[in-house]
């Protein structure tokens, strides 16, 4: 189909195709045979899909905030592509969460019409990035953990969740490679980049503890093999990070058992790459309750800021169609 200009293509109402413009999207699982495994608690299943979907949705939004702020055009494309993959995963998982819940909530209802306390993403996903080193460090930790998790879910007994995970494994593999290569480049780069990468890793590692603490829903579902107990992912996560840190000449201090305040929050030369996303976010990413967990709906102020941006239009015009 040919158009004289891009605007005409976007606004042509005779054409059903809308791409990423407008509200004409159908459910991403349209035409996929539904159904859930027998004998599994639907509420638990809904809650579990919500956790996995929220992780992807919030991380995707954080990545999108870097577009127009990344150091190079190529990295803008990379971050936008990774964000789009995660958004696709979020759509599938939230749609499935709504179906399991059975109360008529679709992906939009779940993404746009829940408050912060109803979100179940880990806090690592919502944290603002103080600089590009923080971003690639956070992306490395997030994708390493999620890849390991999805790789196990790909053989889960729920065929739909297994299919979503198997698809996600292919994508998360190159997401993790992208993040790891940047961590190596910065860690094994100049004195300045090494210092900033070291500071980022030191600040972010304490947030990874939460990734391996199972919620009650995960414990119940993993007993029947439907979910993965995240504590079982620790060894693979540590092995991957050790490989990256070695290549990056990074030697993070062993983590204290307590939630010690991360040291050395970067104060050097705030440049063009500094914090496009934080806007006053608590740099520790922990808000008022340092022990709270995102899986329990206990979030930092950062999530409220993300949702204010993400949900603003849908909430202002809930009946809007264009």
């Amino acid at each position: 189909m040919a158009f004289d200009d891009a605007y005409q293509a976007l606004t042509d109402h005779d054409d059903d195709a809308r791409w990423a413009y407008g509200t004409g999207f159908t459910d991403p699982l349209a035409g996929v045979p539904g159904g859930f495994p027998e004998g599994v608690d639907r509420a638990d299943l809904a809650a579990y899909h919500l956790m996995l979907g929220d992780d992807a949705l919030i991380m995707s939004h954080r990545l999108q905030q870097w577009v127009t702020h990344a150091p190079e055009l190529e990295d803008e494309l990379a971050l936008a592509n990774i964000g789009l993959d995660l958004l696709g995963q979020a759509r599938l998982l939230l749609t499935r969460a709504g179906e399991a819940e059975g109360e008529g909530r679709d992906e939009d209802a779940l993404a746009y019409h829940r408050g912060p306390a109803e979100f179940r993403n880990v806090r690592l996903a919502e944290r603002g990035d103080a600089d590009f080193a923080h971003l690639v460090g956070r992306l490395l930790f997030f994708t390493t953990w999620r890849l390991s998790l999805f790789d196990r879910l790909a053989s889960a007994p729920d065929p739909m969740l297994a299919a979503i995970a198997a698809k996600g494994v292919k994508e998360l593999t190159y997401h993790r490679d992208y993040a790891a290569r940047w961590v190596v480049r910065l860690g094994d780069g100049t004195d300045l980049s090494h210092r900033r990468m070291t500071a980022a890793v030191g600040a972010l590692l304490p947030l990874t503890e939460e990734l391996f603490q199972p919620s009650e829903v995960e414990l119940r579902l993993s007993a029947s093999g439907i979910a993965v107990d995240p504590s079982s992912l620790r060894a693979e996560f540590d092995a991957v990070l050790a490989e990256v840190f070695a290549a990056a000449t990074l030697k993070p201090a062993p983590m204290a058992a307590t939630n010690a305040e991360p040291a050395g929050h970067d104060t050097e030369s705030p440049g063009h790459d500094t914090d496009p996303t934080g806007r006053g976010t608590d740099p520790t990413g922990r808000g008022t309750d340092p022990t709270g967990r995102g899986r329990d709906g206990e979030h930092t102020e950062a999530l409220s800021e993300i949702l204010a941006e993400l949900q603003q239009l849908a909430r202002a015009v809930p009946w809007g169609v264009w």
């Binding site: 035409g31 996929v32 190529e74 696709g88 759509r91």
Partner: protein
Amino acid sequence: MAAPRSAAAVVGAVVDPELPMVTLVELGIVREVREDAGAVLVTITPTYSGCPAMEAIRDDILGALRRAGWTHAVVRTRIAPAWTTDWISESGRRKLAEAGIAPPGAAPRRAAGPVPLTLTPRPVVIACPRCGDTATEEIAAFGATACRELRRCPACGEPFEHMKEI
């Protein structure tokens, strides 16, 4: 009135909205076209989880069938097994190359155990679609769409796109 075209022929002529030089069948997105008592069931497999073209693809298939007189048509999505570039046909690969997009090589095979980390780009041989030289190098692993990366050819000096193996 001309003889009605088979549903498979109609769907087989629908091109990809982002890569209009190849059809959806050549890309391996259309998995199956079944006719049953005047109704058509088309099965497609999405390429990437977030690919925004899936919506357009579904509409394009239904529109083509409608215009050919098939008014009872359903597009069903099959998400397992996941799409792989290995499903792109020989003619699809040739047309991509003719349009300046280097076609994908064989998709990576995975051994048992954890997914391996790849800290340096794989030493792949991707021929320049313009001059055929194989000493091309990666510029960026992410391009204008999820499925493409940017490379350059030192021999002829031109940048080009390559469809990534997945």
